[in-house]
């Protein structure tokens, strides 16, 4: 197999190149995988398989691969629930409890009812907790500092644009489900918010393959 520069072609990058790109990502951009492999081999293998199936489902649209990914994704969801103590996300720390009282007293007496609604009411507290989880879930810094190499951040962001613009409902729906689940569970599980990691890897792969396409490599 020879690779050589050629006139512009719309040829899709081959599976071998895709796998090579994936291998590069896992080796250099995803230190979380190596760390998790030492602690929980099964989770690491399920994650690896989920990533590979997601990427190929995105690139090739195969129904079988999609089904396989959904099964693996459900397994990841199960692990995410098991490894996250989500009850803590909805409890007030002693500092937060004191702050709540102090803030209630900051309001003028005429706004006491408003103060109760905004600072104490259980439903409001629940919304605040969900808000905190949601913004932690979509925080770029969380992923590209702790779980992925910082240098892959531009690739992930650009790749995310292509993924969102692809219109592939299968990917967008599972991504949305992952975000919703993490909004409820929080991101402070034992192994972090790994439910979203396959999509980040997908974004990086898509960006890298786009770059390769731009460089006009194709399989001879």
């Amino acid at each position: 197999m020879k690779y050589e520069l050629a006139p512009y072609s719309k040829k899709i990058i081959s599976p071998r190149v895709t796998l090579a790109v994936l291998a590069v990502i896992f080796l250099f951009f995803n230190p979380w995988l190596a760390a998790t492999f030492n602690q929980n081999k099964f989770l690491a293998l399920v994650y690896l398989a989920a990533v590979v199936t997601l990427v190929f489902a995105y690139l090739n649209d195969s129904k079988f691969v999609k089904t396989l990914f959904i099964l693996l994704f459900c397994t990841l969801v199960f692990f995410q629930f098991k490894t996250t103590d989500y009850a803590n996300e909805y409890k007030l720390t002693p500092h937060e409890a004191n702050l709540q009282i102090a803030r209630m007293n900051s309001y003028p007496p005429s706004l006491a009812r408003v103060a109760y609604v905004l600072e104490v009411k259980k439903e409001t507290q629940l919304l605040y907790a969900l808000q905190a989880n949601f913004f932690s879930t979509i925080d770029l810094n969380l992923y590209f500092l702790s779980y992925f190499a910082l240098v892959s951040a531009p690739l992930g962001i650009v790749g995310l644009y292509f993924v969102l613009g692809s219109g592939k409902k299968f990917v967008l729906r599972t991504l949305a489900i992952a975000v919703i689940i993490l909004t409820f569970l929080g991101v402070n599980g034992t192994y972090g918010p790994f439910l979203l990691f396959p999509f980040i890897v997908l974004a990086i792969v898509v960006c890298l393959t786009k770059l390769l396409e731009k460089m006009r490599w194709y399989e001879n």
Binding site: R103, L111, Y161
Partner: protein
Amino acid sequence: MRIKLFTFLALGVILLGSFYIYTYKLNDIPKGFYVDEATVAYNAYSILQTGKDEYGKSYPILFRLFGSYTPPGFIYLAVPFIYSLGEEPFTFRLISALSAVVSIFVFYVFIKKLKLYKLSLSYMLATIFYAITPWLVFNARLGYEVTLAFLVFNIGLYFMCVALSKPKNLLWGLPILSLSAYIAHTQRYLFGVFLLFYFLLFRKQILRSQNLRILVYALLITLVVQIPNLLVFSTPAFWAKATVLTDKSLYQISHNVLLQFLTYYSPKSLFYILPDIDLQHQLPELSVMYNWMVVPFLVGVYLLFKNGKKINFKFLTLIFITAVIPAALSGYFISIQRALPLLFPLVVVIGLGMDEIARRLPRIILLGIVILVFSYSLVILYKSYFILFPKEQALAWNYGYRQLAEYITTHADSHFTIDNTRNPRSYIELLYFLRYPPEMYQTEVASVYRQMYYQAPPTVDEYHFGNVEVRRLDWAKDSCARQIIVGDNLSVSESQIKEHNLAEIDRIDDMDGNTIFRLFKTNPAKDCLIQ
């Protein structure tokens, strides 16, 4: 005609409403008067009274202040305001409030020029929400230069945008952009960064042979405008804020810059919680934008990527990216103040998202949503800025110095030593609140600062004016002098009170009754006799 009248009226209501929000209890909120406000205020007062700054330098090109050598624009502009309105905090904060109001008008005109939105209603919506963004409200109520610089830079940006189709506007754009370099440090660096990328990206539109003459004239005018800066260009004072990232390796520098970019653009930072280490910049439970804006922001960013090749989107992308470069390169810590230029393109991008969403909704539902989010935003703003912020951040805004100055005034025959260990710049608060005669302070401050003004001599954190000393406490001599020692809760321990026979004579508390300052009378007869 009817549409123009509606636009005119709507804009008028927005401007008046915003002016009210920006000036409501302006003298009282923020509580306290931050050191950066006090130093600007006192130097403006000094210029009005004597034509010299606090160090005795006549009409400086750069104001030394705390060694930051701040561009002079805001301070000189404050002089006629002090003359007309007096020296209260309101006067200095009013300049920012007016700048913010004018910026709303500039914002509207600018986005109309950019022609990014498909619905005409979206321009008004974006303007309304720009006017009430926490970021703008917060900066509209500051008594120093950042908002004025933001306004002037945006006016320059407008003309640079128009110049893409009518190059004659470079004659306005370049000089006005460069004028902003006389107001704040951020714009001094942003001016150069922006121009570099502007000429790179738009070389086909601008760098044509038929535009050469205009370009040369524009550059000449800009050069003339920058003559004062060129006079001090080679001095250490000019580069005082050019913080060099002192990491040894290029990898570490790149790593830090990339991290800063990620943080500034992160939805969590912009819409939920600000990672700025400076408490003075923070509003309780509110970041620089409202939380619901994350939705139109994400849609807007997507559209920005998608339409990136169109010239108006390209210009927006240019200002969206370059706005953060000076902040990202300035140091290790996030400072949302340095990233203020991002406010304008950020709201434009959010407006893009709002436009896209609004197009897909029936008008009646759109109206309901707009009323809902507008009301919600105002409630959250009121809660965070006008109820919680005055109490929770009072200390960060140096609350307590006015009361201390009043105490010093009523005890003018006593000598005061004030511990400044945790706030080395606190002397300026007292100079300001005491309205200490600048002509007297100029003779008391070390002459080296005046003689080597632009050589940036290092600051010594000890100040003596009138009956006041502001410095670290020296127990070897302070307890033996008849005076009043002032410090915070950490300045004087209980064992030191006993050891040096101090008598606590008064306290200054915050609004919750927590002590800010403790005042002790010394007992030299007893203490020094025992020693």
